[in-house]
């Protein structure tokens, strides 16, 4: 056996390091396990209809309130975010309940509050071709009152994989703050 020739060893080192860097790059760009079955996201904007599978949402308004009430006499203080929107199904009323209504702030995911009366709950059955006017009411922590939030709307209650999801970015600090606000019952849109 003869020692490796001096010539070429530099090139070998370079090739080796290059391959290590390439491997690092491959690892860096490899998507996570849940990449292949993540939801199909539609980014919504205020007053513009956003469509997903069997779902059309038009967010009309988002505001904050320190005191809320519903049409049946319930009321509560707190830090509330109210998002009103029109929603309809497009093709089928089977499984067309808007079960997923989340407000994500950082690592927290707030669901629609269960405290108001059932009639005011935005997680309701959507009709095909006949929009409803709904209000999603989220009760959030005081420290989240000025945060960047993302509203998520869809049919999947637990498993949102591979289904449509309507998302809306909200800067809570920019929302109007009402002293008191009413959460209207869900109803047909005008």
């Amino acid at each position: 056996m003869s020692p490796a020739p001096r010539v070429g060893s530099l090139a070998q080192w370079a090739a080796g390091l290059g391959l290590v860097a390439l491997a690092w790059g491959v690892i860096a760009v490899t998507p996570g396990d849940d990449f292949a079955d993540q939801p199909f996201v539609t980014q919504a904007r205020i007053d513009e209809p956003a469509e997903g599978r069997n779902l059309r949402i038009t967010v009309l308004d988002a505001r904050r309130a320190d005191h809320v009430s519903d049409e049946r006499g319930w009321s509560a203080d707190g830090t509330w975010v109210l998002v009103s929107f029109e929603a309809e199904a497009l093709s089928s009323e089977k499984d067309s309940t808007l079960s997923r209504a989340l407000l994500r702030i950082g690592d927290r995911a707030y669901t629609v509050s269960d405290r108001p009366s059932v009639g005011a709950d935005a997680r309701t059955h959507l009709a095909v071709g006949v929009p409803k006017l709904l209000t999603a009411a989220f009760e959030i922590l005081d420290e989240d009152a000025d945060a960047q939030a993302t509203l998520e709307l869809g049919f999947a209650k637990y498993d949102a994989r591979l289904d449509s999801e309507i998302r809306l970015a909200l800067d809570l600090a920019e929302l109007d703050v009402d002293d008191t606000a009413e959460i209207p019952d869900g109803r047909w849109a005008e």
């Binding site: 497009l90 093709s91 089928s92 009323e93 089977k94 009709a127 095909v128 071709g129 006949v130 047909w188 849109a189 005008e190």
Partner: protein
């Protein structure tokens, strides 16, 4: 000297031929299995019933079915741009108790489908004589013409795979 060795393709002709058969077969069998698991238990074959007609299914007579516009007496909450419809159909039960679900469906185009408003069950399992089922729907004004699809369930005599359903054609 032996004859020149045949080419690789020739030597492996049998195996390649088998692959050409087995790969498509495996694809088909696995695909069919997945399809049956996903679709095989959903209502599959329509028993089409012309307007005004009846059909017998597992001893029970269904039909005729008619659809009409809702009147104020139906007390339906219908917004502007939509219309209220009332589906009425006769059922003459046989020996076996039957439950059913009804979907109002567009016969053409997008074939959008609606479920009845309210919680009224269209079929009852404790009727002893013929009765009339009635369901109300709220649909957009541009919808139609319709069929009414009736899925009969909880039947001991019904097949679990590829269950048939009754499709009333409506005027």
């Amino acid at each position: 000297m032996s004859a020149p060795r045949p080419s690789w393709l020739r030597r492996n002709a049998a195996a390649l031929g088998a692959l050409a058969v087995l790969l498509p077969t495996a694809t088909f069998v696995i695909g069919a299995q997945e399809w049956v698991t996903a679709e095989g238990y959903l209502p599959f074959a329509a028993i089409e019933v012309p307007a005004g007609d009846t059909t017998d299914y597992a001893g029970t007579t269904y039909g005729p079915a008619t659809v009409r516009h809702a009147t104020p007496a139906d007390e339906l909450d219908v917004p502007a741009g939509a219309m209220g419809l009332v589906l009425e159909f006769d059922i003459a039960p046989g020996d076996e108790a039957q439950l059913c679900s009804v979907t109002l469906r567009e016969a053409e185009g997008e074939q959008r489908e609606w479920l009845a408003t309210g919680n009224r069950a269209p079929c009852t399992s404790d009727a002893t004589g013929p009765y009339e089922g009635s369901l109300a729907f709220v649909v957009p004004e541009d919808a139609g013409p319709f069929t009414a699809d009736v899925e009969v369930s909880r039947l001991e005599s019904a097949p679990t795979m590829f269950p048939p359903f009754i499709r009333f054609l409506l005027d």
